[in-house]
């Protein structure tokens, strides 16, 4: 499958296969404009779906597990309804995965002014400089901030798989997801790997309101090829890299779908 036209095509809607049940009742998988709800400190990020408001997360910094989306884009929300009290007026989806959809959506512009009843006292970082370190990083100067370097792998070496995750419909590696490549390269060099097998996958999401939404056709190839090229660009011999992809979407269950959008890197001794 060529990649021409890949991103011009919005993600396809496809009927869920007979094997795919509807998304579980506690799951909310939908596409919507994200909404910024300002507070006295950092903003909350919300999304509305079928007349209800859902809380996605707050702004912190790059050390956070959860990254906020962008206004100006729609977001794919994949989350589980929790029992926690509402935050910023929204039902808390926890855990959740939010993907910024690539194409621009100029209608997604909503920013709501702060309201006294919306507080985020749990914010590990305010809107200004940090207290000394990143929000979720060990305090500078502590032993935790300087963990010992991992021991070099010892023979007999094992094959190891490193996984690059992706946002929905995103074909490219990002700063954060490149860590998997860094780890793969480090391991490959340490064990003098004989071969590296890259496999790209295409995902789909079982939506709350019915059919599964597939990622764009061809995205598995683009993902795999980019990872292969990046490995080559940082010094892995291209002849040792085998690149393949699976264009059929991975099965969707409405819960773990975000983990199936991936590229795997199998490093063999």
């Amino acid at each position: 499958m060529g990649k021409t036209g890949l991103m011009a095509v919005t993600a396809c809607l496809a009927l869920a296969s007979a094997a795919q049940a509807a998304a579980p009742a506690t799951q909310r998988n939908f596409v919507a404009c994200p909404v910024v709800q300002d507070t006295k400190t950092v903003p909350c990020w919300l999304a509305e779906y079928k007349g209800e408001t859902y809380y996605l997360g707050i702004q912190t910094d790059i050390s956070a597990e959860w990254y906020p989306p962008f206004l100006g884009h729609k977001a794919m929300v994949e989350g589980t309804v929790s029992n926690e009290p509402r935050i910023c007026g929204g039902i808390v989806l926890k855990p959740n995965k939010v993907s910024v959809l690539p194409e621009l959506a100029p209608e997604c512009t909503e920013m709501r002014p702060e309201r006294a009843e919306y507080q985020v006292p749990f914010a590990p970082r305010g809107p200004g400089p940090s207290k000394g370190g990143l929000a979720f990083a060990p305090a500078p100067g502590t032993a935790a901030a300087r963990p010992p370097a991992p021991a070099a792998p010892q023979p007999p070496f094992q094959a190891r798989t490193f996984t690059v995750p992706y946002d929905f419909d995103t074909p490219t590696v990002t700063g954060r997801t490149s860590r998997a490549l860094q780890q793969a390269v480090t391991y490959a060099r340490a064990i003098k790997a004989s071969s590296i097998e890259v496999m790209g996958y295409r995902g789909q999401v079982l939506m709350t309101d019915g059919p599964a939404r597939e990622e764009a056709p061809g995205i598995a190839q683009v993902r795999a090829q980019q990872v292969g090229e990046l490995l080559g660009q940082v010094g892995i011999a291209p002849s040792s890299i085998k690149v393949a992809w699976k264009d059929a979407p991975e099965p969707a269950d409405g819960i773990t779908d975000s983990t199936k959008r991936r590229t795997t890197i199998l490093v063999k001794p």
């Binding site: 860590r179 490549l181 660009q233």
Partner: protein, 563 residues
């Protein structure tokens, strides 16, 4: 007019031989890539990232071919007495000789700028930083003048034009003119340099990889407006035999570089976008990618080669010894404001404020993140805040204003929206943060990470309207994601990093510049679009709808002026 004989000089023949060798290597690499290999990375995709082989970066041979076509005037000698001119305006001419003392101060509009040579006084006679490197009589010092923060100001260039009747080597046609084909003696031919301090930067299109082979860009580029005529020029333009894009940029300060070049342990991949980091070809280590507007050169050494061949129109690469001396000089020279006309001597005997002045720059730590209250970007000004007689004493009042400005810079939140390589790195768009979020490097306020981002200085709709600059239409290909904030069609005065990486989301992304010595080197931003410090503040106020009060603006200006 170009001198055809000069194109056949022996030194250039050696260079071309090296280039040909590199080309052959690249050709072999491409041939190998084109061999069918089941399951191998796509042969159609980019095989290598931008970078350097030895001291030659991939784009340099194509640039040098253009540089060698630009005319060189046979007489570059100033018409007036050189010594007198130097005494009058503190201009260092390449090859003039003399000593640059360990500490020298230069007056400027706001007070005095200091230059410190940590290695002691420099005998400039025979020093490669201070001697002509190529055919046009320029040395490094020509565009990196001590009096102007190791850069040059537009005002200084205007004086130089007047004093030398436009014959100083800084006005060399290769890049000191709006385009080499223009009449050399006319001021209008050099208007971008004289009015905005902009030198022409000419880059091959499509971009080149480390070996000089073509990268496959993610976008098409069209010339929409070309007031200088260089991008549509039959010899120097995008459709010439050596396709070239010309953009116009300010020279960056060749000082305080221990901060700027600190790689900060950068990994193989850039933390912002996941692309491979630039590698020092000599050490194999990742580099800072922070000292040129487009990060096209990995090291100061490769930058010096690029500058000698292209800005200096040298026929050969400088010797290893010369390159070492240039880099050694650059790594030990520090530039910062030392005295203010209102605030007086800026640093007291105890070195307070501890980030101001040249000695503190010399002694500061590198690789420190400053977006925190432990080691703020420019540390603390608290003692200046506490001045009890600030309302009566102009000196105390000024210092209190600086301290307030530091607070505005450091702690005043606003909504940062649609800034590529800031909002996209995990902060979301918008993000409610402060100036120090992006300007986070201790002592310089650059970005501690590889620092290119699109703050809107060159891209529509935010860039200041500049009809004197070229305008390009960039159309991102359908098979790549659109730019997350600008879409598939982008209008830009300078595509920035994208001219090197070929990536759609790098269009208009410019490596941010250090904040030091600002008082000596207006105008600001890479395209010189801010004439003074006020226009910097006004730009950001408009770009991010900050709504600074007049007091906040003046405090910020005063703060910036003492750095």
């Amino acid at each position: 007019m170009p001198n055809p004989d000069r194109l056949l000089s022996a030194s250039r023949t050696r260079l071309l031989g090296a280039v040909a060798l590199l080309g052959a290597v690249a050709a072999v690499g491409l041939a190998m890539a084109a061999t069918p290999r089941t399951g191998a990375p796509s042969p159609a995709a980019n095989e290598k990232t931008p970078g350097a082989q030895g001291v030659i970066a991939g784009q340099v041979p194509a640039q040098n071919a253009q540089a060698q076509r630009a005319p060189v005037r046979t007489s570059a000698a100033p018409v007036k007495d050189q010594a007198l001119l130097n005494a009058l305006d503190r201009w260092y001419s390449a090859g003039q000789g003399g000593t640059l003392p360990a500490l020298r101060e230069f007056d400027n509009e706001y007070g005095k700028l200091g230059i410190i040579n940590a290695a002691g006084a420099i005998d400039t006679k025979g020093h490669p930083f201070f001697e002509p490197l190529g055919a046009n009589g320029r040395g490094c010092v020509t565009c990196h003048q001590p009096a102007y923060g190791m850069s040059v100001s537009a005002e200084s260039l205007q004086h130089r034009w007047k004093d030398t009747n436009g014959k100083d080597p800084v006005f060399a046609m290769v890049d000191g003119a709006n385009c080499p084909g223009l009449p050399a003696a006319e001021r209008a031919s050099h208007s971008l340099l004289l009015d905005r301090g902009l030198f022409r930067v000419f880059l091959p299109w499509p971009p080149k990889n480390a070996e000089g082979g073509a990268l496959k860009p993610e976008f098409d580029i069209e010339v929409v407006r070309d007031p200088a005529g260089c991008n549509t020029h039959p010899v120097y333009g995008i459709k010439s035999a050596n396709p070239t894009i010309s953009v116009y940029r300010r020279p960056r300060p060749a000082a305080n570089l221990k901060y700027v070049t600190a790689s900060n342990g950068q990994a193989l991949f850039i933390g912002k976008n996941g692309m491979p980091a630039s590698i020092d070809p000599e050490t194999g280590r990742s580099t800072s990618m922070n000292f040129m507007a487009d990060a096209r050169q990995p090291t100061l050494k490769t930058q010096a080669v690029d500058a000698a061949l292209n800005h200096g129109q040298a026929g050969a690469i400088p010797s290893a010894d010369a390159l070492k001396k240039i880099v050694d000089f650059e790594m030990q020279v520090y530039s910062g404001q030392r005295r203010d006309r209102w605030g007086g001597r800026l640093v007291d005997a105890k070195g307070y404020p501890h980030a101001v002045g040249t000695e503190n720059l010399r002694d500061g730590r590198t690789g420190v993140l400053g977006d925190n209250f432990t080691t703020p970007v420019f540390l603390f000004f608290d003692e200046w805040k506490k001045a009890p007689d600030a309302k009566l004493d102009p000196k105390a009042a000024f210092r209190a204003s600086v301290a307030r400005g530091a607070d505005v810079f450091f702690t005043r939140p606003f909504w940062i929206t649609g800034a590529m390589h800031i909002n996209t790195v995990g902060l979301g768009s918008p993000t409610k943060r402060t100036c120090a979020t992006c300007h986070n490097m201790h002592m310089t306020a650059m970005d501690l990470s590889a620092g290119w981002m699109d703050l809107g200085t060159t891209n529509a709709p935010w860039a200041n309207e500049s009809p004197e600059l070229p305008l390009f239409k960039v159309t991102c290909h359908a098979d790549v994601p659109p730019h997350p904030f600008l879409g598939r069609v982008i209008y830009t005065q300078d595509p920035g990093r994208a001219l090197i990486s070929g990536k759609c989301d790098d269009v208009g992304a410019i490596v941010m510049e250090q904040f030091r010595g600002l008082s000596a080197r207006a105008p600001y931003f890479s395209n010189g679009s801010a004439k003074n410090l006020r226009e910097i503040v006004d730009f950001y106020d408009r770009r991010f709808n900050i709504r600074y009060s007049e007091q906040e603006k003046q405090d910020l200006i005063n703060f910036l002026s003492v750095l």
